[in-house]
Amino acid sequence: MSSPEPRWTLRGPNTGDRAYRVVLTGLALVLPLLILVLFAQLVVSALPAIAKFGPSFLWTSTWDPVAEVYGAAPMIFGTLASSFLALLIAIPLAVGVAIFLTEFAPRWLRQPVAFLVELLAAIPSVVYGLWGIFVLIPFLRAHVVPPLKAVLGWTPFFQGAFYGNSLLAGGIILAIMVVPYIAAVSREVLLAVPSSQREAALAMGATRWEAVRSAVLPYGRAGIIGAIILGLGRSLGETMAVTMVIGNRHDIGLSALQPAYTMAAAIANEFTEATTDMYLSALFEVGLILFIITVAVNALARLLIWRVARGAAVGSRAL
């Protein structure tokens, strides 16, 4: 230690380093802080409605701005039901596309199809809404609903008159909107499955399909669940396209042919003309519920992935 220190040795963090670190830490804290502030702001703004209606806000279904009586049950139901319907349609479609593109498609077809599927995500949602009104709904009315009612009309899910704007239309639009997300992420996940898995299954005498089912899919399970949750998150919050086709009716019904409402749509629709404080507060409470549901869904997804995958499989690290 007697010799003079060379200029280039580490002398602990210098000022530049320290500033850099402080700035980065600050930036990293901004986002979590933003979420907390957002949550707090929602709670504060929703307080008058929470105080007036209590927990019954969650399960009553009157939404009457004239009498100032508010209940969010139809919107909560509509949000969950339309997203559920969307996933019901989108999961087989998107995962099927992903499997096809990674396992079965000829090489020259893979890139163009993947590109086109992902292009769906680039279409503005208002365009989906317009397409829904002018193309999808007339098509449903003419070609889909009559056979559907003929075959499944006895179930509670396809009863009542079909006016066009309905839970079914909303669910289909949402499905188309979330397919690119689920397909793109699932495809990445399946591409990351080591070919040794595939080869091992094939070596055991499995057919291509058996190899996919027994080796590839289980390996990528966590990643695919993650992809689905990503899609779910998108469909829960989607506003414009849904409000244009779902019928915007504060009603709870099992039938997919009936109009419904979602939380995001109600907020967007009613916010600008919410003239009284209680009305505004009720809308904030709807926003708060949407926020909590979204956070809960994401937390549940994390939990599911941890339990299913325990960090081993592909894709789980990314989520």
Binding site: V66, N165, M244, E273, A274, T275
Partner: protein, 356 residues
């Protein structure tokens, strides 16, 4: 730092330092509110600005609710609203507001009955019962009896209403509230209500799209919107018992008819739906500018009132071309009297049209 960036900064700096164009004391007026009159307000502002370049006016169409809110919080100099402020809202700002009607709007029933050439007629109670869900078929006897010579199909009626809060909804349900005791009891009036039946469409265009796509649908849209889009509109029987086809003239006639009931000391916060007047279309309304009775800044408030008066006189000529019904000329002296009561620092800011 590279050269391009330096040049960019240099130009930006030069622009920032450039002397402002030589104008006399620039006054800036900010307003916000109703979306319904936005087209004509922007047109007025543009025209006015070309004439008098010392005033810069800005109006943001954020909705009547937002307009009332911002006006009450004094973040804007004037507001715009399709629904008058309630007594409690006015009390909350110590009564410091004047409602100045600017133009008239009307709301019309539009429907989708393919192959029907004639306009369908509606009586007030039929209209109310359709929207209450009590008349559910186009071939209902109550509809066919008032539509002699029109073959109404045996088809379900599908009600389409606005899903977003709207002054259009307010006018429509205000009318239904007046003509139907049951509507008044079960639903009432507001910018959005608890609809007994029907589908919700977002905006005039949403209601129109849903109506056009759904056979048997009946919806309501602004008159100007229906005229521009050449939509079928319902004929409505007014208080005098006449069948009135909605038009800009019959809407102005509604305001003229309603003036008789108002009296010259009105605060203009009056609903003019279901007015008297032989040729009055009964589903019409003012849209209002909200201005303060007392302003802190004399120069600013003088320019504002001058602009408002210009809009109510010269500006009215623009209305018809843009799908709005002009105010009846007889209303002007009443509004002028109200505008002269506006003060800044205790002094009136505008004494009459000749001030400028």
């Amino acid at each position: 730092m590279n050269r391009r960036l330096l040049i960019t900064i240099g130009i930006a700096g030069a622009l920032a330092c450039a002397p402002p164009p030589p104008v006399a004391a620039q006054v800036r007026l900010n307003g916000a509110g109703a979306t319904f009159p936005n087209i004509i307000y922007q047109n007025w502002i543009l025209t006015y600005n070309q004439k008098f370049d010392n005033v810069e006016i800005n109006y943001q169409s954020i909705g009547s609710g937002g307009g009332i809110r911002q006006f009450s919080e004094k973040t804007v100099d004037f507001g715009g609203s399709d629904a008058p402020m309630t007594d409690s809202a006015i009390a909350a700002i110590d009564g410091n507001v004047l409602h100045i009607p600017t133009v008239l709007g009307a709301v019309v029933a539009t429907y989708n009955l393919p192959g029907l050439a004639q306009a369908v007629r509606f009586t007030p109670d039929v209209l109310a019962d359709i929207f209450l869900g009590k008349i559910t078929n186009w071939s209902d006897a109550r509809l066919t009896s008032i539509n002699p010579g029109v073959t109404l199909p045996n088809q379900d009626i599908i009600v389409v209403h606005r899903s977003d809060g709207s002054g259009t909804t307010y006018v429509w349900v205000d009318y239904l509230t007046k003509v139907s005791p049951e509507w008044a009891r079960r639903v009432g009036r507001g910018t959005s209500v608890n609809w007994p039946v029907g589908l919700g469409g977002r905006g005039n265009e949403g209601v129109t799209a849903t109506t056009r796509q759904t056979p048997g649908a009946i919806g309501y849209v602004e008159l100007g919107y229906a005229l521009i889009n050449k939509m079928p509109v319902g004929v409505v029987r007014n208080k005098s018992g006449n069948w009135i086809t909605p038009s800009l003239e019959s809407v102005t006639a509604a305001a003229a008819g309603a003036m008789r009931d108002m009296g010259s000391d009105t605060d203009f916060r009056v609903s003019i739906t279901d007015p008297s007047g032989a040729q009055a279309y009964p589903i019409a309304s003012f849209t209002w500018l909200l201005v303060r009775k007392q302003y802190p800044d004399a120069a600013k408030s003088r320019e504002l009132v001058t602009f408002v008066w210009w809009a109510l006189t010269d500006g009215q000529a623009k209305a018809a071309g843009l799908g709005y019904a002009p105010l009846p000329a007889a209303l002007r002296p009443w509004i002028q009297a109200r505008l002269t009561t506006i003060t800044a620092g205790g002094r009136p800011v505008w004494t009459g049209p000749s001030t400028r």
